[in-house]
């Protein structure tokens, strides 16, 4: 087994990972930083983000207002010190990205333009048409190429953290092209692997979103925080789950039921006006809009199709010129994947699993409780998103906390001891090599297929831990997941070769997803209240007395996770009522 030594390892090459790697390089060019990603960085799922990134830059806006929108949007589960740091550093991060070349849309005088977004009381969302994530990712990736101290391991899948003397000292990774398994040692490791939307059957998330970093931390004893909070985006295309950006509504799109009625007016989201009203109707928060869809379906007022119930997103009244200028990708996606032109036709949409508010427990510096281990972006939970993330906060989050993780890791390695190449970490690495090779060679296998178990997992989780949940459904999901974990030990692969074995990758990803799914189900069982995206029909009210607290799920090899509770940090905004449209 080959061993490679660096100062800092960044796991994941999306926006958070690239920003972290650049932050390490800028803090101290002498540090050897390596970016390890299971795909080429420009393939990362940041690429699919569409609508924009929020930061206060306009004179009519304020950090206060951004913080309040975020905290009320998150149903008061956000840590307010984290939100304050986030909104304060957001403008500088966004300006830095502008200096690095991101093609932001502009005002006629050359200033950056902003657009409205759901749950935001002022226009503050920077955008690059409706391909903001794509441009942000490519800008970061291309900019990262100028830093000589950033090494890359493209198409290497990290499968285990190496932990010795109570510190994270590196990782084990599978090099896809050769099938070789390597030990990568470092003083600090930053997890930036994104979320795990693929645990659900119907998701906007790319195939690579399998919760890898969350599982790596969970298995190393680091808790996952607030995993019960999964965001359903209200407007996904049926069958594919492809996202139709919230920008379609912020530019003036309407949501219509089967009678052509703007049904959100029946769900305490305000009155229908011809033009968009901030924090109202179609510009309400995502949790409330997705929940309204379910209620509307129960009333029999949605449209039944071959791919489930839908409502209609109507952008026809915006006209071709606005659609082409502001949301051209919406049109491209509809033409390609639905054979319809939104300039003239209604877009069928339904809620779709989109984002995980929860993730690896970190503090404000992106540090986890395990010394030497950091996490940023969707993988992490700081938490600024609370019980429901506002659209356009996540792209900004990967910049702010990616940079924070990089700076914190750089500071840490200055005083951390170097990992010992022949210490216990090496034994752990050899152990992991044996485990993976045994799987590839088919030792002790029992005939289960990856795809069968993956589908069963997705169905179980959706049935029990979807938009609305209850005790019985969650218990059933948890039991099904425990059984699937057992069956996963009996997976037999067709593919016994080492070279670019994508089946063993799919198997390792399945194991990761089962960890994430288990943490979601058990955290949701523990939270006996309804808050933001977590709606319990058996506990329909928010309970600040018992649950103004984060869940922390600690993994266990053979037992269900242990769930503990950590009080929310409140600084200036005492818990209040979420008010939209009035």
């Amino acid at each position: 087994m080959e061993t490679h030594v660096h100062d800092v390892l960044v796991i994941g090459g999306g926006g958070a990972g690239l920003r972290a790697a650049i932050a390490v390089a800028e803090t101290d060019p002498a540090l050897r930083v390596a970016l390890v990603s299971k795909v080429y960085p420009m393939r990362s799922h940041t690429v699919s983000a569409e609508g924009g990134a929020a930061a206060v830059v306009k004179p009519d806006d304020s950090l206060e207002a951004h913080a309040y929108d975020t905290i009320s949007g998150g149903d008061w589960l956000c840590d307010q010190d984290a939100v304050e740091a986030f909104v304060r550093e957001a403008p500088e991060e966004m300006l830095r990205l502008e200096h690095w070349g991101c093609p932001w849309n502009r005002e006629p005088d050359g200033q950056v333009a902003v657009r409205a977004f759901g749950g935001m009381q002022i226009k503050r969302t920077w955008f690059a048409a409706d391909k903001t994530g794509f441009h942000l990712l490519h800008t970061l990736f291309q900019t990262s190429l100028k830093y000589a101290s950033v090494a890359r391991y493209d198409e290497w899948l990290v499968t285990r953290l190496l932990v010795d003397e109570g510190r994270c000292q590196g990782v084990v990774a599978l090099e896809l092209a050769t099938g070789e398994i390597h030990a990568l040692l470092a003083k600090a490791v930053i997890l930036a692997t994104g979320g795990g939307g693929r645990v659900f059957p119907f998701t906007t998330n790319a195939n690579i979103k399998t919760g890898d970093g969350m599982s790596l931390a969970y298995r190393a004893g680091v808790p996952l925080k607030d995993m019960e909070f999964v965001q359903y985006h209200p407007t996904g295309l049926p069958f594919t789950g492809i996202l139709i950006t919230e920008a379609a509504r912020s530019e003036g799109g309407w949501l219509l039921n089967k009678d052509g009625y703007r049904y959100l007016q029946d769900y305490d989201l305000g009155r229908p006006e011809p033009t968009p009203v901030l924090r109202a109707m179609e510009l309400g928060p995502r949790d409330r809009l997705s929940q309204a869809f379910v209620k509307e379906m129960e009333k029999g007022r949605t449209i039944e199709t071959r791919h489930g119930h839908v409502v209609h997103l109507d952008v026809r009244h915006l006209g071709q010129r606005v659609i082409e200028a502001k949301i051209p990708f919406v049109r491209e996606l509809c033409l390609t994947y639905e054979h319809l032109d939104p300039v003239h036709q209604l877009i069928p949409v339904r809620p779709v699993a989109h984002y995980m508010m929860g993730g690896v427990h970190t503090d404000l510096t992106a540090a986890t409780p395990l010394p030497g281990l950091y996490a940023a972006g969707e993988t992490a939970c700081v938490s600024i998103n609370g019980a429901n993330r506002l659209g356009s906060n996540s792209l900004t989050e990967i910049l702010v906390f990616g940079a924070r993780a990089g700076r914190a890791a750089a500071a840490y390695v200055a005083r951390a001891p170097a990992p010992a190449p022949d210490g216990p970490a090496r034994a752990q690495a050899l152990d992991e090599e044996r485990r993976i090779l045994a799987q590839v060679r088919g030792n002790g296998s029992g005939g289960e297929r990856v795809a069968t178990l993956r589908t069963a997992m997705q169905r179980a989780l959706e049935a029990g831990a979807g938009i609305y949940r209850d005790e019985q459904g969650l218990r059933r999901a948890a039991e099904a997941l425990a059984e699937l974990k057992g069956r996963a030990r009996r997976v037999a692969l067709d593919d016994r070769s080492r070279t670019f074995n994508t089946e063993v990758v799919a198997f390792l990803e399945l194991e990761n997803m089962l960890d994430v799914a288990e943490a979601i189900a058990h955290s949701a069982l523990g939270r006996r209240e309804s808050r933001g995206a977590h709606q319990r029909t058996d506990f329909p009210a928010r309970d600040d007395h018992r649950f103004l607290a984060h869940s922390l799920a600690y993994g266990s090899a053979d037992d269900p996770p242990r769930v503990e509770w950590l009080p929310v940090t409140i600084t200036r905004w005492p818990p209040g009522q979420r008010v939209y449209g009035r």
Binding site: H99, R106, H135, Q142, T499, T502, E503
Partner: protein, 247 residues
């Protein structure tokens, strides 16, 4: 509509065979399926050994480019229905060394991309606190089309020159160099011109135009190359740059 469709897939497993082979699979036909859906059906239910890359399945990550019936295509955006009655022939993208099955090696592209300095070059970099560099909508429009490249490599597969002259920078790299050259915030044009003016930079292109024809994002690399050549000749006439091409 047929109930099934046949896929003929190019296989190459270097641990087992020295030469690529063809393998036939029969998959259900579904009207809403892309070629990628058919490949995933094979992978999940028939043959877990078939290797290929994919991720976003919405035409923006650039992972799933393959030759489909001889043309470079994004398989996540190519309906099976358009290829009936079949068989549908699926091969790895032309012009790249094959690692295995449908997986090509992109190292060459990434090496060349870095050579053209695809980042904003400034003599002095203003601190973010001073605010944004102003850029009007017209200035944005000047380079934006070239910023739409998703690095899917279809243009390299379509390019007859890249196949014959592996040292040619190739369409996407030149388009991305142009993306920064045309950005009003950038001052790196001269440094990039040196790389582009080398004999394997832009001069190998004979303007076949296939790159622009296959681009799924309408980037028009051929236009970028022609524009560059013109600039280089003008610069050469002014004595600034010497085209070092032998051809």
């Amino acid at each position: 509509m047929p109930e099934t469709v046949t896929l003929e897939v190019r296989r190459y497993r270097p641990e087992e065979e020295t030469e690529p082979t063809w393998q036939r699979y029969q998959v259900p036909f579904r009207r809403e399926w892309m070629v990628l859906d058919a490949l995933n059906h094979i992978k999940d239910h028939q043959d877990g050994t078939l290797s290929f890359r994919w991720s976003c399945r919405m035409g923006v990550c650039g992972s799933c480019g393959m030759m489909v019936n001889g043309d470079p295509r994004l398989t996540c955006a190519t309906y099976l229905e358009t290829l009936l009655p079949g068989p549908v022939r699926v091969e790895p993208l032309r012009g790249f060394p094959v690692i295995r099955d449908l997986v090509g090696d992109l190292t060459d592209f990434l090496t060349k991309l870095k050579r053209v300095q695809p980042w904003i070059v400034r003599q002095t970099e203003g601190p973010p606190a001073q605010g944004e560099y102003r850029q009007t909508p017209d200035q944005l429009a000047a380079y934006r089309p070239y910023a739409m490249c998703i690095n899917c490599m279809l243009c390299y597969s379509a390019c007859p020159i890249y196949e014959l002259e592996p040292s040619f920078l190739g369409p996407a790299v030149i388009a991305l160099a142009q993306r920064y050259n045309l950005d009003s915030r950038d001052q790196g044009r001269e440094a990039r011109m040196e790389v582009l003016s080398e004999h394997d930079g832009i001069w190998a292109c004979t303007f076949v135009g296939e790159c622009s024809a296959v681009c799924p994002k309408h980037v028009d690399p051929a236009g970028a190359i022609q524009r560059y050549k013109l600039e280089a000749v003008v610069a050469w006439a002014k004595g600034l740059v010497l085209p070092r091409s032998g051809t």
